[in-house]
């Protein structure tokens, strides 16, 4: 039997391999688009970042990044703003995700609209809303003073406070969605077991539920932090030029000074940081969780 089947099996195997490759090639147009529109442009920026103004290979742009205090300050601001925003998102997002994950599915789906609607509303619209709400004669100041909470209009926008409020609002869904997904997947029997073994509800939460929800929390926080590092629109509009992030410096280097070398070097550093963080997080919680949590 095996002797007659062997050539046939080989043939089948070859057919199978060919079919696999044919099917795989269906992805080629999409891969080509990403290659031409993403890999080539960003590779080009890499190249530009290593060229001096005279066109020779040099590290001068990176040397300037390392030596000028203004760049160090921009990177520090970017990290601080991203870190605080991520922290605020965890603080606000964890309780809501926890609550949603324990509600009956139908009610949770209804409440999810509150997360999904802002998620899909244009970032520009939401940033505009905050500009209006937080301005000197805006609603927040009007009502705060009307209630006697403060006497003078507070400077809430075109500064750090405005930037943080706006960024937290825009990033929050990115934290809640992956966290909610991982919380839904937690088996309630673990908690029943903990309760049965005498754990108080808070003990059961801290030593059973929280550790089980950590992968989703790490995935969400990583996505938020990475998106903050490269965020442009909201800090540019709500920061009022007082809070300069890396992305804004890149934009002004191009728009005002046409300094491709400096902008590219900044971009390369930003990219390397992003990729390193993504890599570290995917080693920690798996790539699928990260990809599934992003839009």
């Amino acid at each position: 039997m095996p002797t007659t089947q062997a050539p046939n099996a080989a043939l089948l195997h070859r057919d199978g391999v060919r079919e696999h490759w044919t099917l795989f090639s269906l992805g080629l147009p999409a891969l080509l688009l990403v290659f031409v529109m993403l890999v080539v442009p960003i590779g080009w920026l890499f190249w530009l970042s290593f060229l001096s103004d005279a066109g020779a290979f040099s590290l001068e742009h990176y040397r300037r990044l390392a030596s000028q205090a203004s760049y160090a300050r921009i990177f520090r601001t970017t990290f601080e703003v991203s870190l605080i925003t991520t922290g605020l998102c965890v603080l606000l997002g964890y309780p809501l995700a926890y609550l949603l994950a324990q509600l009956p599915r139908r009610i949770a789906a209804l409440c999810m609209i509150a997360v999904l609607l802002p998620f899909w509303t244009s970032v520009l619209v939401r940033t505009y809303a905050w500009l209006v709400l937080l301005q000197r004669q805006g609603i927040v100041n009007d009502w705060g003073m009307g209630l006697g909470l403060w006497q003078e209009p507070l400077p809430l926008v075109h500064n750090l406070a405005g930037t943080l409020i706006g960024m937290t609002h825009i990033m929050l869904p990115y934290l809640i969605l992956p966290l909610y997904g991982s919380m839904r997947a937690i088996d309630g029997d673990y908690l029943k077991a903990a309760a049965n073994l005498g754990a108080s509800p808070s003990r059961a939460f801290w030593s059973v539920y929280l550790p089980l929800s950590l992968p989703g929390l790490v995935a969400g926080a990583t996505i938020v932090f990475i998106l903050c590092l490269g965020f442009y629109i909201t800090p540019a509009l709500l920061g009022g030029g007082r809070v300069i992030l890396v992305s804004m410096r890149i934009a002004t280097d191009i728009e005002l000074f046409f300094n491709w070398g400096a902008a590219s070097a900044l971009g390369v550093v930003l990219l390397v940081l992003t990729v390193a963080l993504l890599f570290a997080a995917s080693r920690l919680v798996g790539f699928d969780r990260l990809a599934g949590g992003a839009k």
Binding site: H20, L23, F24, L26, G27, P29, A30, L31, L33, V34, F35, M37, L38, V39, P41, I42, W44, L45, L92, P95, L96, Y98, L99, Q102, C111, A114, V115, L117, W120, T121, S122, L124, R126, T127, Y128, A129, V132, L133, Q135, G138, H169, P173, G188, L191, K192, A194, P201, F205, G230, Y232, L237, S247, A251, I254, G267, T274, L278, F287, A291, K295
Partner: protein, 272 residues
């Protein structure tokens, strides 16, 4: 009510009454998420330049400003065209890729997925200036085609993810059955598989449209002149001052987004 308060709320038997604070916090966060964009809607009907709330008098003047302005209308058409074309490019490309990678199961598939997911991982500002640099060399700056190509790339990861998740819940044996009954692979895909994942594909298409319609940074760098997009014009206007016309435009955008989301929910529900 008191009955509900003393009923257990979770597996740890904690009662609803003892976690009222959690409901309060959750509700407050939900309001924080939803209210800011919603409050723009009544304010767009305000008569006042300063957008106080509640508006001292109602009027449609900001809508007249918007719909009466040649520049805003042109930008709106550009954005609508770019969104539709992006949808038409990204949906078939992404669907084919998701299907191909799902069925072929080669070892390269994981790597290909990673490459296709790259556009959502990269800082947009970097994509913006990179694409700008390339377009300068090839004369694609300020063209509709340029915007559509860049936006299609940005929309691909979404399409691939949504269609791939649709394929995961689809039983591939149905397509194998069609093939064993003599259908060619493309025919089996078009007549058997595609109709069953059509809701994922429609959802992916709507999301591709929204991705393009809402995109700001890349459009800021590569679009302009006659082909300036709506979001680009809004961003530039907001950099100078808080123009209440933007409230009217924002309201139109919120309505459009909600409609598309409701549609995708409607389709998505019947997929299961």
């Amino acid at each position: 009510m008191t009955g509900w308060l003393s009923r257990p709320a979770s597996e740890t038997q904690i009662t609803h009454g003892r976690r009222l604070w959690l409901y309060a916090v959750g509700g407050a966060v939900m309001l924080f998420l939803v209210l800011p964009s919603l409050i723009v809607i009544p304010m767009s009907f305000s008569d006042s330049q300063y957008l106080s709330f509640p508006p001292p008098a109602w009027s449609l003047r900001w809508y007249e400003n918007y719909f009466g302005s040649l520049e805003w209308m042109q930008a709106t058409w550009t954005s609508l065209k770019a969104g539709l074309l992006t949808m038409l490019v990204a949906t078939p490309l992404g669907t084919l890729a998701a299907y191909g990678l799902h069925v072929s199961r080669t070892r390269l598939g994981g790597l290909a997925m990673l490459v296709l997911a790259m556009p959502i991982m990269m800082p947009l500002i970097l994509i913006g200036i990179g694409v700008f640099n390339v377009y300068v060399q090839f004369g694609l700056l300020n063209t509709l085609a340029g915007v559509v190509i860049a936006h299609s790339m940005l929309a691909l990861p979404l399409v691939v993810l949504v269609v791939a998740s649709g394929l995961k819940s689809y039983d591939m044996n149905q397509e194998r059955a069609a093939c064993s009954l003599g259908a060619s692979r493309p025919r089996a895909f078009l007549l058997v598989t595609l109709p069953q994942i059509r809701f994922s594909v429609v959802t992916a298409a709507l999301l591709a449209f929204l991705t393009s319609f809402d995109e700001v940074i890349v459009a800021l760098f590569v679009s302009g002149g006659q082909n300036s997009t709506l979001t680009r014009n809004m961003f530039l206007a907001l950099r100078d001052q808080i123009d209440p016309t933007i409230a009217a435009i924002s309201t139109v955008m919120i309505v459009l987004t909600s409609l598309l989301l409701a549609l995708s929910q409607l389709f998505g529900r019947s997929d299961r």
